[in-house]
């Protein structure tokens, strides 16, 4: 089954043409990694998939829901859709006034309308999954960057999403904290979750991705198996990019 179907999507911010005709499919259970230089439109595409940004042209179908150009980002059906799509941000975006436990359980209670006790049970289980059972009553600013990002992943997993979008989730972390986050991510990927991941971590991409899409200047200029794209890229742009990374 196709989980995400993107057709000829265009998106501009004023004069800046960020997405210039992106088409790609993601099947259920697949982990697709998006790589490419900054400014190539990777994050914008991810934000368009759960419609935090409206698209200008083309169409996106996510888990059966058709997203069309110029829709309002606050439509009721989008709230329903976002319930099923997890999003993990580069800068975590935890709610700073809530403990780790409340960060994870809040949406369960008010969006999924699960009773408080059961919601907390689920939240504790999810925090356990990311190795943070002992931190449930800590506030975000009492946690390291890596721990915060793991709480963000738990917050996302708790909603039992059909698809998870991850936007450079290790880029804001110190090198020694990246590993703990990627380990969690690899485990989620192995569990059969459908994921679209923007990352610069080559090792992770090789080990966990089913496919890599290489973005350049608002287009996908290469697409294929990780080994093939990273080690024997066809285009000069991709070659230069991967050489710089290794």
């Amino acid at each position: 089954m196709i989980m995400v179907e993107i057709k000829e999507v265009h998106k501009s911010f004023r004069d800046l043409h960020v997405l210039r005709g992106i088409s790609m499919d993601v099947r259920e259970g697949e982990s697709v990694v998006i790589m490419g230089p900054s400014g190539s439109g990777k994050s914008t595409l991810l934000r368009c998939i759960n419609y935090l940004e409206p698209i200008d042209a083309g169409s996106i179908r996510v888990d059966g829901e058709l997203l069309t150009p110029k829709m309002s980002t606050r439509l009721a059906k989008l709230h329903k859709l976002r319930e099923r799509i997890g999003f993990v941000f580069q800068r975590f975006n935890l709610f700073p006034h809530l403990t780790a436990l409340d960060n994870v359980s809040l949406a369960l209670k008010i969006v999924k309308k699960i009773g408080p006790e059961q919601a907390e049970e689920i939240a504790i289980r999810c925090l356990e999954q990311v190795g943070l059972k002992d931190k449930i009553s800590s506030y975000p600013d009492q946690l390291s960057g890596g721990q915060q990002q793991r709480v963000a992943i738990a917050r996302c997993l708790a909603m039992e999403p059909r698809l998870i979008l991850l936007d450079e989730i290790t880029s804001a972390l110190d090198p020694e904290l990246i590993k703990e986050v990627l380990e969690v991510l690899a485990r989620v990927s192995r569990s059969g979750m459908t994921m679209i991941i923007i990352t610069h971590e080559l090792k992770f991409a090789k080990e966990s991705a089913d496919r890599i899409c290489f973005f350049y200047n608002g287009k996908i200029i290469e697409e294929g198996a990780p080994e093939q794209i990273i080690e024997s890229s066809q285009t000069a742009e991709a070659k230069r990019f991967f050489q710089a990374l290794t």
Binding site: N50, L52, S72, T73, R74, H79, K80, R82, E83, R84, I85, G86, F87, F89, R91, N93, L94, F95, P96, H97, L106, A107, I110, V111, K112, Y139, D141, R155, M159
Partner: protein, 220 residues
């Protein structure tokens, strides 16, 4: 020192009744003006519906741009010109509510806008609707930011309410004036009124400082 001899218990009682009126007006203005301010603040920070933003903007600018004394005088005369039969107390209460709504609306707007766009996005990415995001994510964070401004406004409001004395509403200031004239105790009457104002305002500032310190601690 003859003033002390002339200043009786009834005079003191009269002052306290005046203070009660001041506090009453302040409470009414803060409660209803606060509710109005919440609506205005949300409308003002809503970037989707420009009409709301515009109307709220005009309202805020009018009530912040015209002297409160003038607003009170207009509020005093307008009902009788329009043929409405309402008491002076009600008329000044309404003016004070509108005045407070404008100031608090602007403070609430600043609080809402101090919260980064990413918090809105995190909330919507979890499927929360606009008012759910406001209620559970944005407002709890914004409140911490604006507590000092709210307390500051409240202290200023307690003192600004003395303007109603011009319209013969016996607040603390007018009560003090009357006592001063009636018993000829100008210094004692005004001094007592000043002390009562201080007793009302000082705890407010203290509460504000404590709340501010508390919210700083929970962020640290």
């Amino acid at each position: 020192m003859g003033e002390f001899a002339r200043f009786g218990f009834n005079d003191l009682l009269y002052l306290v009744r005046g203070a009660y009126t001041t506090i009453q007006l302040c409470g009414i203005a803060f409660l209803f003006g606060g509710l109005l301010g919440i609506i205005v603040g949300i409308a003002r920070s809503n970037h989707k519906i420009t009409a709301f933003r515009w109307i709220a903007g005009v309202y805020i600018e009018i009530f912040r741009g015209v002297p409160l004394l003038l607003q009170l005088i207009i509020g005093y005369f307008a009902p009788s010109v329009l043929g409405w039969d309402i008491s002076v107390f009600l008329a000044v209460s309404i003016v004070l509510c509108l005045y407070t709504g404008a100031y608090l609306g602007e403070i609430f707007r600043s609080g809402l806008e101090s919260i980064h766009k990413e918090q809105w996005e995190a909330a919507s990415s979890l499927g929360m609707k606009y008012f759910q995001s406001l209620r559970y994510v944005i407002i709890p964070q914004g409140v911490r930011v604006i507590i000092p401004s709210i307390i500051g406004f409240l202290v200023a409001l307690v003192k600004a309410i003395c303007l109603v004395s011009i319209l013969n509403v016996v607040d603390l200031t007018l009560a003090a004036q009357r006592v001063a004239v009636r018993a000829y105790v100008p210094l004692l009457a005004m001094g007592s009124a000043a002390l009562i104002y201080f007793v009302i305002c000082y705890p407010l500032s203290k509460i504000g400082q404590r709340l501010e310190a508390q919210s700083k601690r929970s962020e640290a």
